[in-house]
Symmetry: C2
Subunit: 407 residues, 2 copies
């Protein structure tokens, strides 16, 4: 007998027919002799509808009341799943965030789970009952409803699994696992049986959004074994586990890409101490999320060029900020390009192997793909290239690192 938390996303909960399908999956798990708790998202589209109401009512809605409104989406699916489970002959009931309770910080709209009271849930599960909990929501110390921020249901599931000391946390989604890269670009992409928490985090940060980043961080901290699998098929998924659990570590786990960045180059910046801070300080104050930063070597001109990337949606804002501070900085010119893509290779194997980055640069160079910027972390190398080369670069790297499935 195992204790399992199952989490179903919005696509899996979109309408009663699908909720019935979820109930059937839960029933199968119960019939294997397992204790089961289920965490559910709102129906696909519902949270957007509710957020839309709040924004329409006031662009800066009171976060406490915003949470009252948007938490209702998961309340509805939790009740409906309990009904669907009962109609399959299972014992089931819903516990809302304030009922269990799921204690969170008071940061409404982006609260952090502090503690989940598991007394009621453990007693119910021991009695053969399926516990259904709405994801994304909790209650603060003042007794008001909180929400965890978009995508928070993954985090709810991992937190519940940790609190229940569950053997596994199965995250059901609309893909059947984590792939070495996007199968729409590389048909020979392989589904990974296992991936480490660290790799999953880096992949999420560069655009391969299967799990919400916070949920992976929490799983890593609490050592929760997470499985990503599909609601719509019966094949095994990908286990996200500790590095120790992976005996035969591949050099590279995957190749990711991100087309949501734009490049900004500030030309002719006076090369004096503090000038970089004078650029990035005002951008940070304007809440621009600067990603890659490259500062070219200063020439004898005592001038330097600074290149960085920002989310495309923040490009106009960034250029406004730069125009405003031109007098303070004294730069010559700003160039920008929103037709760029960031390509990353991720793998914990990098730690013990030299030459991983060189393989990347060489493979790209062989195809005439120019690298505009480079950043690295301990287990990731990212390069910025012209957007039109995205698919080619991903395919070339997938092959170069030996990730292609056998034909």
């Amino acid at each position: 007998m195992a204790r399992i938390v199952m989490k179903f996303g919005g696509t899996s909960m979109a309408g009663i027919e699908r909720i019935r399908g979820v109930a059937a999956r839960v029933k199968a798990e119960v019939e294997r002799g397992n204790e089961v708790a289920v965490v559910v998202s709102a129906m696909a589209g519902e949270t957007d509808r509710l957020v839309g109401f709040c924004r329409e009512a006031a662009p800066l809605a009171d976060p406490c009341e915003y949470d009252v409104v948007v938490a209702s989406g998961e309340q509805v699916t939790a009740g409906l799943l309990a009904i669907a489970l009962q109609s399959l002959g299972l014992k089931a009931r819903s516990w809302l965030g304030w009922q269990l309770p799921v204690h969170t910080s008071a940061a409404h709209g982006s609260a952090r789970i502090e503690d989940i009271d598991t007394v009621a849930a453990l007693a119910a599960m021991a009695g053969g009952m399926v516990v259904v909990m709405p994801g994304f929501q909790g209650v603060d110390a003042a007794g008001r409803i909180t929400t965890l921020g978009r995508g928070g249901s993954d985090t709810s599931a991992v937190a519940l699994a940790a609190a229940l000391k569950a053997d596994r946390c199965d995250i059901y989604t609309d893909v059947d696992g984590v792939y070495t890269t996007d199968p729409r670009i590389v048909p020979r992409a392989r589904k990974l049986d296992r991936i480490t928490y660290e790799e999953m985090l880096e992949l999420a940060s560069v655009g391969a959004k299967v799990l919400q980043t916070r949920s992976v961080e929490l799983a890593m901290k609490e050592k929760v074994r997470v499985q990503v699998l599909s609601s719509f098929s019966d094949v095994p998924g990908t286990m996200v586990v500790d590095e120790d659990e992976i005996v035969e570590q591949e050099l590279i786990a995957g190749v990711a890409y991100n087309r949501n960045e734009a490049k900004v180059t500030v030309i002719g910046v006076p090369d004096r101490p503090g000038v970089v801070a004078a650029i990035f300080g005002p951008l940070a104050e304007a809440n621009v999320n600067v990603d890659m930063i490259v500062q070219n070597i200063a020439h004898t001109t005592r001038k330097t060029d600074v290149t960085f990337t920002v989310p495309r949606t923040e490009l106009v804002l960034s250029l406004d900020v730069l125009a405003r501070i031109r007098g303070d900085i004294g730069y010559e010119e700003v160039l920008s390009d929103d037709a760029v893509a960031k390509i990353s290779v991720v793998g914990v194997g990098m730690r013990s192997h030299a030459g991983v980055a060189v393989t990347m640069f060489k493979a790209l160079a062989d195809r005439g793909i120019n690298i505009q910027a480079i950043t690295t972390s301990e287990i990731k190398v990212s390069v910025l290239i012209a957007e039109e080369y995205t698919e080619l670069a991903v395919r070339v790297l997938h092959t170069a690192y030996g990730l292609d499935a056998a034909a």
Copy 2:
């Protein structure tokens, strides 16, 4: 300074534009120096949508989980109204049923309010804050969400007004008050300035559904002054008050009609003790709501005819029950007619005036309208007629009792 509960129905809450309109009305009341609590319904159509989900998930959904699902509609509008009020510069917050809390019985789906804890609400109102409470919902002793049954938000509002000892409970709806009869039938129908609780109850029971019956019963019991008025105009509404408050009592408050009944006549019933119980017992067991009952005088044949009315939707069921018990009763024949209408005149003045019923019978006879059955209560006379005469009968009676507005 007065303490006022304002209640807004689903039509008034249907969409953000209308919620903004509600917020403006609340603001006006606050600016008059009043303490205000607001009770809201779900957006029009939302409760039907949520009930539909539950029914689709299981025709007999667990009432506890049903309540979790359907209570969310009012949760959403409570949060949105608080946001809209804040954006007008008012202090406001929502208290959900479990937060205030609104203690109810555990009869999920049709719970009764037992007690409303007003400590938080009174403190907030004393501090100039508008209290927003979702109607229709509460929490039982086990800490689970309950709902009061359809239309329960009127009852929530009256109960809150009673608990807060409010000076007035204003029920905003899509009509601007209670009329002497349906203005679609009688253009010269008059809006009543005042009506007694008893009259309101009788009018509701015969089809003039402005307020939910339970809410009027509660208002009568708790002596809550209720005003019915429109969300969409600025004219004064109708006050529902105690009989003592109406100095110059009219003989008749209004003329109501109900086309949702069907007539059943059981012919040739043996005239022996207990035979009537033998007919109506099985109907009651089948949950048929029998309304009017007329038993004709037995002739020398030792046989009698029994006529009664049932809701049209229950006619087929009623005929099934009668067919099943034919052997036991030994009647000759059953006739039914679903083209009937019940016309009622209601007024507390009837208590002290003879001849009210005679005026009715005579006015109908003058137009050749045949009366098929008659029932009376202390303040109501109802007759059953052929449905095709409905409008004519209502107009004739409206004139006969002197209710027509001056031309």
